[in-house]
């Protein structure tokens, strides 16, 4: 278990995260978006586990377990239940068409690469080179939030940003201190519960989770 191995493992995980971010953007069906989101949670948990094993930060084992349960299982399951219960229209409706979205996404990755270039040079940590990718995944999550019409895809975008941030913390710095990590996880959980509440309200008030419809009806 040496630095080279850690480097490789993190590199693979980073590329997987990037791939999943693109996959999330490219999906046409809501359920496949959800599957990729769950996969992201699992990859995140595995990455954390790997870093925990190699770096020897014991609290990361706990983080890994928490990530797996919260982001790999609980949140996707909750979202799946919402999709099923609320009979959300199953197609993803992007505001910008897929090829253009992909081009924007690629440009974003390029920009992040250039922005992170000076930083990567200075870092001594073996995991430094994931920083650009981590930043890119954050921006790709934002792109997803911006280009989707449905509340539920926006939420998945939001949660994937949260995943990306967690990945940044794990990949670039071996995770934030426990207290911060717990606090962030708590906030995410609360946010997810509020999302759930909002879905119910939206459905009761607007009979739709489509934000175009919601904007339209709220103006009357």
């Amino acid at each position: 278990m040496d630095d080279v191995m850690l480097q490789e493992a993190i590199s693979v995980a980073a590329s997987l995260m990037l791939l999943i971010s693109f996959a999330l953007l490219a999906q046409h069906r809501l359920l496949s978006v959800l599957h990729w989101f769950a996969a992201q949670g699992v990859v995140l948990a595995l990455t954390t586990l790997l870093v925990a094993v190699i770096s020897g930060h014991y609290e990361l084992y706990f983080s890994a377990l928490m990530t797996l349960l919260l982001k790999g299982a609980l949140l996707p399951w909750l979202l799946w239940r919402i999709i099923r219960k609320m009979h959300v229209h199953r197609e993803v409706e992007p505001l910008v068409n897929m090829p253009v979205t992909m081009l924007i996404a690629l440009t974003l990755v390029l920009i992040c690469f250039y922005v992170a270039l000076p930083i990567e040079r200075m870092s001594q940590l073996v995991t430094h080179n994931t920083l650009a990718i981590a930043m890119a995944t954050v921006f790709l999550g934002m792109l997803m939030m911006i280009t989707r019409k449905k509340a539920i895809t926006q939420v998945i975008g939001f949660l994937s940003i949260e995943n990306a941030l967690f990945f940044t913390a794990v990949g670039a710095t071996h995770g934030m201190p426990m207290i911060v990590e717990l606090g962030v996880a708590f906030d995410v959980l609360i946010a997810a519960i509020i999302f759930g509440l909002f879905f119910t309200h939206m459905r009761n008030t607007f009979d739709s989770l489509d934000l175009d419809v919601i904007q339209e009806k709220s103006k009357r």
Partner: protein, 318 residues
């Protein structure tokens, strides 16, 4: 015999092998597909018989066919065979690789496609033109993806020379994510370029969906034989390219008898495995709708591009 002579001889042998073994690959794939569909299928050597038979037949030409139509089969066959001769099959150190690198190889394939598209339009039938226009549309997206995935590999090797690239791939001791991206992209492109399912179905002539078949609808006799043969060579070329670049283990690094023979066996085994995999894939998948092809190809491009970005971000200076 001097070393360079030996190398040239081996190189020629490699090229000849590619050309001669190509129908065999087609036969293996057909057989596998037949088995998977619970049919007994034609014998593995059937493609050779088909070619022989076609060579023996008279080549009919349409009345208004120009010289383009007549020369295309020869151009097609020559360029494809030339392209095939630069890909390392069982030996890394090829003299021909100095003449044509990976970009030239892609250019040769593009030249072949260009002539085929011209020939498709030459007769003036509706199908020929339709096939040509579709082929050119898709190739405009497939070629960047293919080149991009090749570039990912050549970035690591610091060379576009296929021999050097294969040598570099052979001595990789790291796990490189960018290679995985390039492989995925190249696999997708290879399927599209060879007109396999899910992009095109080589075994039907369904008017509305065909691409490659539409262009060669008017050919017969030895012309058709050459074109069929060329497309079989192209399939083997892509298979060998993928094998040599991504799973090169077993390929010979010196022109000695033993490693070369071993490499030959390895290569054959890997091609057969790939053929089986392709057969399984083709049996399991349905053809996608025509207007989804651009999305499929842009996915390949995005993957290849990601491979390049990942290479720069994660692997350079690491």
């Amino acid at each position: 015999m001097s070393l360079s002579m030996t190398l040239w001889v081996l190189n020629l042998a490699q090229a000849a092998l590619m050309v001669l073994a190509a129908p065999l690959l087609a036969g293996i794939i057909q057989k596998c597909k037949a088995r998977l569909q619970n049919r007994r299928g034609a014998p593995i050597l059937q493609p050779y018989r088909n070619l022989l038979k076609l060579f023996g037949k008279e080549a009919l030409l349409a009345e208004n066919a120009s010289w383009i139509f007549r020369t295309t089969p020869y151009v097609l066959f020559t360029t494809t065979a030339l392209a095939a001769s630069v890909v390392p099959v069982f030996l890394v150190d090829l003299p021909s690789a100095l003449i044509a690198d990976v970009i030239a190889m892609a250019a040769l394939l593009a030249l072949a496609r260009f002539w085929l598209a011209l020939a498709g339009m030459d007769i003036g039938t509706a199908f020929g033109g339709m096939g040509a226009s579709r082929e050119m549309t898709f190739s405009a997206m497939a070629e960047p993806a293919m080149l991009m995935s090749m570039f990912v590999m050549s970035l690591g090797a610091h060379s576009t020379n296929l021999s050097t690239m294969v040598q570099h791939a052979l001595h990789l001791d790291h796990l490189l994510p960018s290679v995985a991206f390039a492989l995925a992209a190249l696999l997708m492109v290879a399927i599209a370029e060879n007109g396999r399912i899910p992009i095109d179905n080589p075994s039907t002539h369904l008017e509305l969906t065909m691409i490659h078949e539409a262009m060669i609808l008017e050919y017969s006799g030895r012309h058709l034989a050459l074109i069929e043969w060329a497309s079989q060579i192209k399939l083997l070329l892509f298979a060998t390219l993928i094998i040599s670049l991504f799973v090169p283990w077993g390929i010979a690094e010196s022109p000695a008898i033993q490693p070369v023979l071993a490499a030959l066996v390895f290569w054959f085994g890997k091609v057969v495995l790939l053929a089986v995999a392709l057969a399984v894939l083709e049996t399991g998948l349905a053809k996608i709708r025509l207007f989804q092809v651009p999305e499929y190809l842009s996915t390949a491009f995005v993957l290849a591009f990601l491979g390049m970005l990942v290479h720069y971000i994660l692997e350079v200076g690491a």
